[in-house]
Symmetry: C2
């Protein structure tokens, strides 16, 4: 049943061979990997305004162009820096790998932890902002904002569990549509101004105050959320068709160009149209001024909504892959490195969905509340990644390494300054959560890694293990215990199997009363069998403790190195509701016994036939069967 639902939702399993063809070129790679960065136009500008408006009033609009310019400069520094990373890490140059390679394990783990946090926030922020766009355009949906957010996370999860290729098809076209919409908005907006249109005076209730540096930096911190997409491209190099690095660099360049146009254009437009972002999503409100409630207005709202939702998809591509890389290096549970039926990293996708949905619920889908936590993680990883590249050039040298080192070093310095700015100006607004969380995650990852090292150490076969390897001449003494509750076909079958695998077998019973014990002993005599029956009386109605006590008793005479096999029968009923009718004590017993070193638990299935077939053989009406039993 569950299996069927799973198939309908995520499709039939795909074999490994399909994997290669699931990769993308520039045409599809660009929309998938850039949507995070370009979609931030939907909130970055608006959040810059939010940071300034209450403090300085209408003056806020004047400061937008200079802030946007600073962010675009930062973007180009990052682009050039990351191009160099892509060249050097054709297998995926996420901050985790680059920092670990060049700065050591700790730096790698910190980068990995920081990026993981950021991917989760990308989903939460993008979905929340996306829904903001749509409820600005269609206000009847406003009461259902939270529900829509959660539904979207669910859809993204299902879509991504289905696999990469279908992702690119679903998520490609709307990204281009969004670019078209925003470019149209910018052109039409400036054209309208040119032809003499004067936008209405904004109704801002805050009084005008002088702009301070600290306020500007705070607004700049909000605006930096626009740059969270760059990492995704370098991280996803192996997802590109060959030649992968070339395709990836092309996408990175195109991406920067597009952001420059869209972010710069809308920011400039905002200084003229001066809409009040407290009334709703800024882009949608500007589109209303420029286009009126025409088709283009709805086109802007719809594509912005869709691109933001799909931006979250960047994280769905990036997070599971990052986690899988860390899992392969054993810093997080290894299960996370395994691909699911459809060749997607199912576990990572599910974890991302759950945590981001939780964040949306906690922060009620409020972008401004989430923005305080955002960006700091990604700028920490930018810093580490580029410091790593800087150190790499110093070590490995190579063609014109001075320039390359300068580029990455400058990138590292710039992004480090941004980290400090965000950490200070946004500390109270949520950055503290991330500042606390990252060391906790790092500690956990170190612990996980040490555990795996310890396990490998215990499992490793060394030349000293000669005796161990001599399987033919060094077998165990195997002793078997068959716990029986009563004598029936299942217990007889278990006894027979016990006799098959060993000559040293006992049957073991725990009785609640002596009467019950006697009855069993008499029936046991029926068997033609030399297996002794040991009965223990338990006042606590339990089986495990008496059994373990017996094994430890002198009577049983356990010798070090012996293996004891305990055989547990298990019924398999044909229908789900019938399974509920049988004790699941076998599972509990198995779990408890497996805590002991030298006990092997053998579960012996007994398949029950269909009730109706069995009862039909009784050749009585069901009613008679019921009355007579």
């Amino acid at each position: 049943m569950l299996e069927k639902i799973k198939r309908v939702l995520i499709g039939q399993p795909l074999p490994n061979e399909v994997e290669k063809s699931e990769k993308y070129g520039v045409l599809w790679g660009l929309p998938i990997l850039s949507s995070d960065a370009i979609s931030s136009i939907g909130y970055a500008g608006q959040e810059m305004l939010y940071a300034l408006l209450p403090a300085v009033g209408i003056l806020a609009f004047e400061k937008i162009p200079i802030l946007s310019l600073a962010i675009i400069v930062l973007l180009f520094i990052l682009m050039i820096s990351y191009s160099q990373t892509i060249d050097n890490y054709p297998n995926g140059g996420g901050a985790f790998i680059v920092a670990k390679d060049n700065l050591g394990v700790l730096a790698g783990i910190i980068a990995g932890a920081a990026l993981s946090v950021d991917y989760i926030l990308t989903v939460a922020v993008s979905i929340s902002s996306g829904v903001d766009q749509i409820v600005t355009a269609i206000s009847v949906l406003r009461p259902y904002k939270l529900e829509i957010c959660l539904l979207l996370v669910l859809l993204l999860m299902i879509g991504n569990l289905r696999g990469i290729r279908e992702s690119s098809r679903i998520f490609g076209i709307p990204a281009y549509a969004f670019m078209l919409a925003i470019v149209s908005l910018i052109i039409a907006g400036f054209f309208k101004l040119k032809t003499g249109y004067i936008p209405p005076e904004p109704k801002i209730n805050y009084p005008i105050h002088p702009v301070t540096m600290i306020l500007l930096l705070k607004a700049f911190g909000s605006g930096c959320t626009a740059l969270t997409g760059v990492e995704a491209v370098a991280n996803a190099v192996p997802n590109f068709k060959e030649p992968a690095t070339k395709h990836a660099k092309m996408v990175l360049m195109l991406l920067s160009l597009i952001i420059f146009i869209l972010f710069g254009g809308t920011s400039l437009l905002a200084t003229y149209y001066r809409v009040n972002p407290e009334k709703g999503a800024m882009l949608v409100l500007m589109a209303q001024e420029v286009f009126g409630k025409t088709f283009m207005y709805y086109f802007v709202a719809a594509t912005t909504f869709i691109i933001l939702v799909f931006a979250a998809n960047t994280a769905f591509a990036g997070f599971p892959m990052l986690v899988a890389v860390m899992a392969k290096e054993e810093f997080v549970p290894r299960q996370l490195s395994m691909k699911g039926d459809r060749l997607s990293y199912s576990n990572g996708i599910i974890i991302l969905s759950l945590i981001s949905a939780l964040l949306i619920v906690i922060f009620k889908g409020n972008v401004s509340a989430l923005i305080g936590l955002y960006a700091i993680g990604v700028f920490i990883s930018f810093t580490l990644s580029q410091s790593g590249m800087f150190v790499r050039w110093l070590k490995h040298k190579g063609n014109s390494w001075h320039i390359k080192a300068f580029i990455n070093g400058f990138g590292a310095l710039t992004t480090f300054v941004v980290v400090i700015i965000i950490a200070i100006t946004k500390f109270k607004e949520g950055a503290w959560i991330v500042v606390l969380l990252i060391p906790v995650l790092v500690l956990a990852m170190v612990k996980v890694k040490l555990h795996y090292i310890a396990v490998a150490d215990q499992l490793r076969i060394t030349p000293a293990d000669k005796e161990l390897l001599d399987i033919e001449h060094n077998i165990y003494r195997n002793r078997v215990i068959v716990p029986i509750e009563s004598l029936n076909k299942a217990s007889v079958r278990a006894l027979r199997f016990a006799r098959t695998i060993s000559d040293n077998v006992i049957a073991f019973n725990v009785s609640i009363s002596e009467e019950q014990a006697k009855k069993l002993q008499e029936r046991y005599k029926m068997l033609n069998c030399s297996i002794p029956l040991v009965i223990r009386y338990s006042p606590y109605r339990k089986i495990i403790e008496p059994l373990l006590e017996y094994i430890k008793s002198e009577e049983y005479n356990y010798q070090k190195g012996d293996i004891i096999t305990v055989i547990i029968p298990k019924f398999t009923a044909p229908k789900w509701w019938q399974k509920l009718l049988h004790n699941h004590t076998w599972l509990f017993i198995e779990k408890e016994l497996l805590k002991e070193k030298h006990i092997v638990v053998s579960v012996m299935p007994l398949q029950l036939k269909d009730d109706e077939i069995v009862l039909k053989n009784k050749k009585q009406s069901l009613w008679n069967v019921l009355e007579k039993d």
Copy 2:
């Protein structure tokens, strides 16, 4: 950890021997078993008024005495009827047993289903009404009504999981306190009237209309909720100290007397004081009139609150025992007949708590909404139980059986009429749910019973099974498969064990790539071992399907009747978080393989040592270990 919490909440396990001393006499049996019936004074009268007020206005108060009288008459009929039941069923004469014994299985199941539903409603109604009392007296608590209800259900659950004896101590005294409070209220109320006090005119907004028969019957139906406690006494006979039947009958008689005084007295008082039940709980409002806001006012409110909460406890004594009886007869899952650590029927207690809490949430703790579902179940079982007793007298005769048969027959007839009245007058208000639910439950129980019959049939050893019983000369051919992922100490250990239990062993590996397969083959040669290594290539990264395919292949040459043992290693990590780091695929593989008829799954534990100890042996700093790995 969980185990510790459990111990603090429900106490240390008790051995079977303690069981006898956990029983009660009249002094403690009365409060435990009567609280359901006497507590209904807290809502029965009030709900009668509710049924009439909107339709007939202030006239409603005039009709209360006659309705109360009818209910008291019904009570005495039931008392006499049930005394006869107790005499004949010293091991607990619940409707289920009596109906099943005398009217057949179907009647028994119907009675059982009806009673189960009613016990659940007893908890929901009593808790909701109890909290009504307290929020009437302390109105600041009103917004937290639902939370308080759920907290109380939780406390009752924990208390009952602790066991019977402590229940009687905790729940005894307040019942007597309640009786004292209500008797004081009645005496003081009438004394005040006698000394010339004239209660204020009630402010009822409904206009006066003539009273119709159908309205009276509807109100009567609400009032019948007062009688749901009687069944509990007969059902709980084995919980009494010896002589149990005598004690039980004494409790039943005292109970009826107490209800007569309390219910009759408060009903009569209500016709004079005429408080508006829409303003809050009627008893508390009357106490305010009679005592003012003195100690006695709070005493009435508090004891009514407490007795109602403890009334729910009657169901906690009755429901798990009823379910256990049905479980012993295999109409419900057998697990429900097992006593927990503290000699209480843990599963039944937990189920009761969960479902009643759910009902409280669905109906928002509104007594009037729940009352529509209430009482019909118990009157169905009353009818079946007494019809059963009637038939019993006809069959078995005995001393003055004519009179006894008449008593039970009359009881059956009366209660049957009540069932019809409630079903019709309350149908729309919720009785339909119960009318629908009972047949569904009955069908389910029949299905369960038939399944257990079919299972027993398949397990039963008959004289024809001679060959089966000859364990010594009729062993299986045991073939062993050891799935290995790589070659390490765990897999070598599994191979050694395999060699111990059989000469017919293969090692089986599923490789994702040929490269991986080759690497394993080379390492495998290291072993001094004749066990062949079979490698399969799986495009789907799965182990189970290729393994099953291999078993079915001609190459493996499976012979009917062979047992195949599959050995799965399982790591046991010392700390909980470490357990999360290991694949739980072994559990999944076990589950899947056990679906096959002839595969025994042997799980071989490998206990991992503490990380720190292992890493200390490496004689390196942890940091070096991390960097070098």
